[in-house]
């Protein structure tokens, strides 16, 4: 090898090592440890930020789900359930992403006791291996347990940009996004829906409600991403729930996809049957609660409920019994179908 190439190689190793060492020490996504020597500012990019928090925040109860679960406030849950919780819900999460979140939590927290797991049809309507990577690449290297691919984090521009932003936030006394508990919470000051808005929204196609919602795909997804997790962790109690979408959300999905109602009704029965053998699985269907789902003032958009509903869910699951028979599960699913078919805004 020529002198130039030798020196180039040595120089490259030096420069890359310096960058990786810097990222390791500063750890801008808190992937290795929570910061002790500077004030952290967390990024709202959940898929990059959550792995570090799931690994390093102490908890015995984990929440996984989509944006419908983001507003579970950990201190509320701790008080109601008498646990130490952490909310690892990811906006627009697919079932695979929820599985990755749980597995990372279980690997790094051997004392994990409970999981509150949102069963959202949207998350199951795609292929089982799908992650949300339309906007940017999904950082598998942050979510897996492979040590050697950490170089993707250590030698990566994004953490360096985060380090720069955190540095400037500290010198400018910018206090945004510093509280882990309130990091991804939203909607507390958003106006609630009006009847006219619902009348309009109900007819606007959405990529979410336009999803295929094919029974076979959703069930296959559940079997691949949820069921093995329940089976492999008999010491962890799983509290599954169907989030109480406003009835108008189902109406819109039904308008855009006539198979939607049939798909979710069959899925609910099938999921009950799949979970029934496992004593550590507890299933709650909150979608037939008309006092919530028919009250437009409890929603801030066509999908999301006001944050108070998250607290209500925590109370319901803590206080009420889960579904106890296939007949009950089917009856509740059928009730939702009936409510959707008879719903009127007039």
């Amino acid at each position: 090898m020529s002198k130039f190439l030798k020196r180039l190689l040595i120089s490259l190793i030096i420069v890359i090592s310096m960058i990786m060492t810097f990222t390791y020490i500063v750890d801008p996504l808190y992937f290795y440890r929570l910061p002790t020597w500077y004030q952290a500012q967390y990024t709202t990019n959940a898929r990059y930020q959550l792995p570090g928090l799931i690994k390093n925040v102490p908890y015995d109860t984990l929440i996984v789900g989509t944006s419908m679960s983001r507003n579970f406030v950990e201190s509320d849950m701790d008080a109601i359930w008498n646990v130490q919780s952490y909310n690892a819900a990811i906006p627009s999460a697919t079932a695979r992403e929820m599985k990755l979140a749980f597995e990372l939590g279980a690997r790094t927290h051997p004392d994990l006791r409970n999981v509150l797991w949102e069963l959202n049809f949207y998350s199951f309507a795609r292929a089982p291996e799908d992650v949300e990577d339309e906007q940017e690449e999904f950082p598998y290297y942050l979510w897996d347990d492979v040590w050697w691919n950490d170089f993707r984090y250590l030698f990566n521009l994004y953490p360096l940009k985060r380090a720069r932003e955190t540095f400037f936030a500290n010198i400018r006394h910018d206090h945004r996004n510093r509280d882990i508990e309130m990091l991804y919470k939203f909607g507390s000051d958003s106006p609630t829906l009006t009847v006219n808005q619902v009348k309009e929204l109900i007819n606007i196609p959405s990529s979410v409600t336009r999803s295929a919602y094919q029974f076979e795909i959703m069930l296959a997804n559940f079997r691949e991403n949820v069921l093995p997790v329940v089976r492999d962790h008999p010491d962890v109690q799983f509290y599954f729930f169907y989030p109480p979408y406003g009835v108008f959300w189902h109406v819109r999905a039904h308008k855009q996809n006539p198979d939607y109602l049939d798909g979710i009704t069959r899925l609910k029965s099938a999921i009950y049957e799949e979970l029934e053998p496992y004593a550590n699985a507890h299933l709650y269907d909150l979608q037939d609660r008309m006092d919530i789902t028919h009250d437009i003032s409890k929603y801030i958009d066509v999908a999301h409920y006001v944050p108070d509903i998250n607290r209500w869910i925590l109370e319901v699951i803590h206080e009420e019994m889960p579904l106890s028979s296939l007949a009950e599960a089917t009856a509740k699913a059928e009730a939702v179908r009936e409510q959707v078919l008879t719903y009127s805004l007039d």
Binding site: S2, K3, F4, L5, R7, L8, I10, S11, L12, I14, V15, I16, I19, E137, F155, N156, L157, Y158, L160
Partner: protein, 456 residues
């Protein structure tokens, strides 16, 4: 496949490099391997593209064989016409149908035809080869050599546009497949300079460019200048970065590609600019359009007309749209004015000449980039609203303005990448410089983006 991607840098290029030298004793196998690798590189995103390039090569090689046996002008014209028809169908059919439909209010359905990657580049290269074949310059070339010449992956997608006499002697040289230490060192140096120009500078500027050109009605005077200047530098660092990488990769295989940029923003007039910007396209148009049209031998008026034709073709070559045609028209007019100025023996102070040339180039790039003439006018009129100019407005954009100023200083005063490559040495400062460029560029690879000239 993109040069600025992990798969290219860490998989494709090393594999082809190793195979190329491992097959030193098996020249034909090495050629076939290189051709397959180049086609894989080309069709990595969309294998359907292979049909177009392979079809184009097959048709052109057919004409080459015919012209070698029967060097008749009519045959050459048919060959060129077939190439232009293929290019016209894929690149210009939508534009022409849309224009005719709009002009005559016919309401025709505009065909949505996928533009094959780099069709302008490989078509022009093959047209030049046909002309050279007609002139009897390509008799000894084999089919494999011809295909290799057309699909040589370092310059397949966006040039430089090469001519056969630059390439064939190189890969017929007995030392072609012998590792050349200096070539590898120089190749790596210029490759990483190009990668840095693309991933760090051009892609960073893209943020302001895209933002400005997608909100042209909302630009104030400072935004207008930022948009135009950012694009001026983005295009230069993007395309010259690509060419640096192409030159560097080719050097790893002992091929010296012609340079395509020679500090064009230092030009003192528009003629000089075109001697320094996309030099191989300019050379192609001079050899195969301007001179056959009569060049400057048929009187002044005809010379000016020929210049206008060349630039209008150049505009249309860059894109099927009126903004590109108008951009070509502007450069044609400027070149005619420049020629007249010289013929009249007029002179201008150098700083003023540089300023005027640079200003013209910046303004004309606005048409080159804008989605429509309307958008281009919006940006240009924003740039003239000096009544809005306040210190607060400037201060608000101080970082990008400072960045643009630094880039301006670099393009005016710094040595260009070719000069840096040629001043090659193995000192620690040099290797640390190249290693830093490499490391920082690789850091930026996660934000993969296409090269601007892929569209042309």
């Amino acid at each position: 496949m993109l040069f600025n991607s992990y798969i290219f840098i860490f998989a494709f290029l090393p594999i082809v490099f190793i195979l190329f030298y491992a097959l030193r004793e098996f020249r034909t196998t090495a050629f076939i391997m290189f051709i397959i690798a180049s086609l894989f590189f080309y069709a990595y995103w969309n294998p359907n593209l292979l049909f177009v390039i392979i079809g184009s090569i097959a048709i052109n090689y057919g004409f080459v064989k015919l012209l070698q046996k029967l060097p008749h002008k009519l045959l050459l014209r048919i060959g060129i016409a077939v190439n232009l028809c293929i290019l016209g169908y894929y690149k210009y059919a939508s534009f022409f149908v849309g224009t005719i439909s709009d002009l005559f209010g016919l309401g025709l359905a505009v065909p949505n035809i996928m533009l094959p990657l780099a069709i302008s580049f490989f078509t022009f290269q093959q047209v030049a080869y046909l002309v050279d074949t007609y002139r009897g310059e390509t008799k000894e070339h084999t089919f494999l050599e011809y295909v290799w010449f057309i699909v040589f992956f370092p310059q397949l997608i966006a040039g430089p546009i090469v001519r056969h006499h630059e390439m064939f002697p190189q890969f017929r040289d007995h030392a072609f497949q012998h590792m050349n230490r200096e070539n590898i060192e120089k190749g790596l140096t210029i490759f990483f300079i190009g990668l840095f120009k693309k991933t760090v500078i051009a892609d960073t500027l893209a943020h302001w460019v895209n933002d400005g050109f997608s909100h042209t009605t909302q630009l104030d005077v400072v935004d207008g200048w930022i948009t135009a200047l950012a694009y001026t530098f983005q295009l230069y660092f993007d395309f010259s970065g690509y060419c640096d990488m192409a030159i560097g990769i080719a050097l790893l295989f002992n091929i010296k590609l012609p340079i395509n940029f020679d500090s064009p923003y230092q030009s003192l007039n528009i003629q000089q600019f075109w001697q320094k910007w996309h030099m191989t396209l300019n050379r192609f148009l001079t050899h195969y359009v301007y001179i056959p049209l009569g060049g400057s031998r048929a009187g002044k008026l005809r010379t000016y007309l020929n210049i206008m034709i060349v630039f209008l073709i150049s505009g249309l070559w860059h894109g099927a749209g009126w903004t590109f045609v108008f951009w070509g028209f502007l450069h044609g007019v400027a070149s005619v004015v420049c020629r007249l100025w010289k013929q009249l023996g007029l002179r201008m102070a150098k700083p003023l000449a540089w300023g005027l040339t640079f200003l013209f180039v910046v303004c004309s790039w606005v048409f080159f980039r804008a989605e429509s003439m309307h958008d281009a006018w919006n940006v240009l009129s924003a740039m003239t609203r000096f009544d809005q100019l306040t210190f607060a407005l400037v201060w608000q954009d101080k970082y990008i303005l400072f960045g643009l100023f630094i880039l301006l200083v670099i393009v005016i005063f710094a040595r260009n990448s070719i000069a840096i490559m040629n001043a090659h040495h193995a000192g620690w400062r040099r290797t640390l410089f190249v290693a830093s460029l490499a490391a920082v560029s690789i850091l930026h690879l996660d934000q993969v983006s296409e090269f601007l000239y892929f569209n042309f």
